[in-house]
Symmetry: C2
Amino acid sequence: MSGFSDLGPLFDPRSVVLVGASERAASVGGRTLANIVDHSDFRGTLHLVNATRPEVRGLPCHRRVADLPSAPELAVIAVPAAGVMEALRECASIGVKVCVILTSGFGETGEEGRAAEAEMKALAQSTGMRLYGPNCPGVTNINKRLGFTFSPAFKDDLRPGPIGLATQGGGLGRNLMQAMERGAGFALWCSTGNEVDLQVADFIHYMAGAPDVRVIGTILEGIKDGPRFLAAARAAAEAGKPIVALKVGRSEYGMRAAASHTASLTGSAEVNSAAFRQMGIIEVDDVDELVDVASLLARGRPGRGARIAVFGSSGGACALAADMVGQAGIVLAEFAPETTAVLAEKLPSFAALGNPVDTTTVTLTNPAVIEETLAAVANDPAVSLVMLPMPLDYGPVSLTVAERMAAAQRLSPVPLVPVWMSERTGAAYRHFAEAGMVPIRSLRNAARAFRRFIDRGAWEAGTMPRGLGAGLPDGPTRTLSEAEGKAVLRAAGLAVPEGEIARSAAEAAEIASRLGLPVAVKIASADILHKSDIGGVALGLRTAEEAGAAFEAVARAARAHHPEARIDGVLVERMAPSGGQEVLLSVSRDPVLGQVMTCGLGGIHVELLRDLSRRLLPVDAAEAARMLRDLRGFPLLQGLRGAAPCDLEALCAAMAAISALVEARPGEFEEIEINPLRVGAAGEGAWALDAVVTLRG
Amino acid sequence: MSGFSDLGPLFDPRSVVLVGASERAASVGGRTLANIVDHSDFRGTLHLVNATRPEVRGLPCHRRVADLPSAPELAVIAVPAAGVMEALRECASIGVKVCVILTSGFGETGEEGRAAEAEMKALAQSTGMRLYGPNCPGVTNINKRLGFTFSPAFKDDLRPGPIGLATQGGGLGRNLMQAMERGAGFALWCSTGNEVDLQVADFIHYMAGAPDVRVIGTILEGIKDGPRFLAAARAAAEAGKPIVALKVGRSEYGMRAAASHTASLTGSAEVNSAAFRQMGIIEVDDVDELVDVASLLARGRPGRGARIAVFGSSGGACALAADMVGQAGIVLAEFAPETTAVLAEKLPSFAALGNPVDTTTVTLTNPAVIEETLAAVANDPAVSLVMLPMPLDYGPVSLTVAERMAAAQRLSPVPLVPVWMSERTGAAYRHFAEAGMVPIRSLRNAARAFRRFIDRGAWEAGTMPRGLGAGLPDGPTRTLSEAEGKAVLRAAGLAVPEGEIARSAAEAAEIASRLGLPVAVKIASADILHKSDIGGVALGLRTAEEAGAAFEAVARAARAHHPEARIDGVLVERMAPSGGQEVLLSVSRDPVLGQVMTCGLGGIHVELLRDLSRRLLPVDAAEAARMLRDLRGFPLLQGLRGAAPCDLEALCAAMAAISALVEARPGEFEEIEINPLRVGAAGEGAWALDAVVTLRG
């Protein structure tokens, strides 16, 4: 079920059968036939199947798939829903490799449709024939100019390029294709429909290996199979191909709407974003941003310093551009003296020669200056990218400027990125688009895209995470008592205060004396989770007598609040060293992406500020350190304003130990929550003061 | 110098003189003449002045302004820089009301130019003649079709409408004008140039009273005169006209670039944003957002519930739209049963009848359905605005959809807002633009604009702040000792721990006994600001002896660290009740906008999280309560997770008292910082535990 290497027959088949070829131009079968015959460069063998007609548009037809002389690689199914299953069975029997099912009216319509899909899925599994769809628009391979699709827009969106698209949702996918209008070029596109067999993940995996794809764009409403998606993401990362992803469902409304639109399981948006970051997947906020970022990454990667230059002829637009750049946390390059010398020689005395370069309107009257000065800026050793704010369309004047800028682009490998801020998009705009410079439509969008571009460069400079994600199905679970849970943690190498279970006040006093005072006393019951809230915890007991008395008190409180609870006794523990920072550390299970570590500082940081950092497992000590640095409250761990720095080494070791524990016993843990983990000053260690461990099964 | 009511002669003059009228089409004087004669509907008297020619383009010329038979209301100065001053003097002498100085080459070029501007300013002040410019593009009054401007683009951007524009920077201003392309209509535009006399503020003030302006848009690089700007903002607010403002300079880069571009004084971006919020000025992030929000506000205001509906034919786009809406914190309307009944009757069974309404593509094949269902949604009593996600341009199909949607708009007063997500902008897009529906160009932009629209509605429902802002020039200052400062606060009604200055250990012990123990002891010197850092503070002293010993210790520490400091003695204070929350409260001076109150929770909230709330003075108790609610940490003051709620009443009273103190003694205070103000549990009060008061002069 790896399902990726074998999609060649889907995107570039040597032979195809269109099942349901039709004379009727408006029908699915008719439109698909027109796309293949009239608008594609298909040079392989085309078979047509029509149940009643011997020929369609002058081409001979077979009555059924079983009548074909040989098995085509690809079957395109355009018959009504009632006939689909039979056609698929015949395709499987003659040895078709992949079927595209354009027909709709299945899972999206109700129970009966879902049953039919289950049948399709079983067929794919038993025969190895791959299915794409149903309810999908088909295949668009722009670089080869192949359209096995019913879309009448196929012929309109044919600008080839290095970006491959796999989307859930045809409308948003076609929206991306229409970005060809501003010069974005696409290699291929598929919109996955009901995903009865092939999923977005499979198309991404295919594109990771497709030589004509350099950047992958995807729109996701829900990830059906987390591990399969992560494997595809890994393949893309290893091939050095960025994935730019728009994931619907970051708000409650979005989650609900996406679930009802594609019936997808949606996990937590936070976990999803964390997993994306780990895999170097660039998460974007909107469709236009997807195109901005994908086009930019298709043009290059930032150099070492990731500095940018701003170059324009409007002082106001340059100032606003610099402001956006600053707000996005991007650094402006400082030019080398040679660059400044060129600018000083070519530009008037009242131009701004720093960065931003404000050429003033001299470039409108003497456009030759643009090419020389802009090329000098682009080729400055500190510059990774040049932002060209264009606030206005001044018709032919702007066109000349655009032409000179495009000429400068030919003199430098660094991307020159026009930011076309005007609503008027005339010849200059089109010139940028035709030159493949893919103008971005606002300064704010540009600054955001540049930030993503720079962040991707930084991610590529790091180390690739090891195999992430292990989806676990729902199942019965069992929560350990605190003492049991802590024993598991201790065995895994975590520092846990010494403690024993007492069954009587006298025993509590004896244990307290033996462990060493002061001690803490806590009711021991797997049935009581919020022990403090009911008076089930007493801290800082200084004498054996106090420990004995506390035994009675917590036992009484437990009986009063939880008369039904199974009580193991009372846990008597040595108090951990006081001071330091309290941290919440947990591993939980995301229904889609697998096991996730979450950490945050205790108290208001988690509860009020939701300042949490997340990663899919595994997390080693180095990744743990990165997790901590993601926290806004991280300076508190470093020791803010003269406070002692915390024992970060011990904290990272504890995080790695928890990760290793869960990995070593796959499928065993539902959840581990350590709250608090007290992290002392450097050298004092990190102590699990309370722990809830929930096992599966 | 109020300078607003008298701009009628600028925007709609009965008589005009063009000084520097020229035959040369490319010259400033030639282009301006062409705009007036060929492209304007000017019906008043036009005089021309040319030093050497008796006529220009067949129209008679005077040799100089002084030769005119009568004083025109407006003079447009298009002569070279060297001749400007003389022309202005002649204008003043014959009684011209306003001069537009198109000529550049003044303050922006150096010292000499600045001297010339000072002369212009003096002329304006001594004669009352108003000056607009120099270095400005002139006047564009679109609603009256009057262009006293040299811009060759005047004739291209003439869609009238209710939005008035005053910008610093011509490029960005013209960029806004080109948004006419998507249907935005503008009343008038001026770009203020070097602001030798008239400033952005004056144009805003004029528009507050101009009947054809309903919304004011502005782009600011720096506010020259804070109180004048605030007065203009107040006039607009009182007239119910929203100001939508883009302020350059929110990052270090932006501040620097804006300062070098317009030589403006830039205050703190945070203070600026706070002042904008107080005045109901809607601050936007980019030029496209300015147009989005201004156009929306020109169409209406949200109803009471400020709920929105999403209506589209692409399930994916509807889901993404709902997601954006959710992320922006906007609430989707729940439809009345009548609305749902119309949808159920008209739409197919597989459409989504909730909100978002996903009509499915039935509307592409049966567009009549759109008008009925969309009007029903728009007229639902819960709906304030309808978002129409349009992911694609499908040519004539989309045009029909747009036509039906525009027809639905005619059936409802609620704004229907198309979100044109595609890069392809064909006939459908143009239809929306022509219908005045001003399509927004991305879902993300739309959600953000809707949020601003809703927030403005909420602001209008509140009470208008009293007169804000009192700019104070720089000047010498003097910092009081803690005891002196606290005496000032006590007199203003704040709770301050009782305390006295001791000059000896014995006196400290005596004061401690008399005030009541425990006490705090602090070195008393206006020259030592960070007393704790040098050991100048001892807290929680339980006996008179301890107080005496502490006297010696803090005095020793002060001498050791600050041998030069003037020491008044040692302040012995009763300890305030412990517990509660510590708050930082200050009033400081913004160089542009005047006195600003800042508050935040103590510790990490201010230092690490920069969680601060700001307001221009005055702040009364109700505004103080709103300030506190702006803090992310506000729940801590309310009592998080069972903690006792703080004495918010006392805190707000203290804030109001500080504001009243500063207002009652105008110009006296440079800065007051209370850190910490300890806020106890309800009824326990708010105590100023430390205070630094800096006076002016």
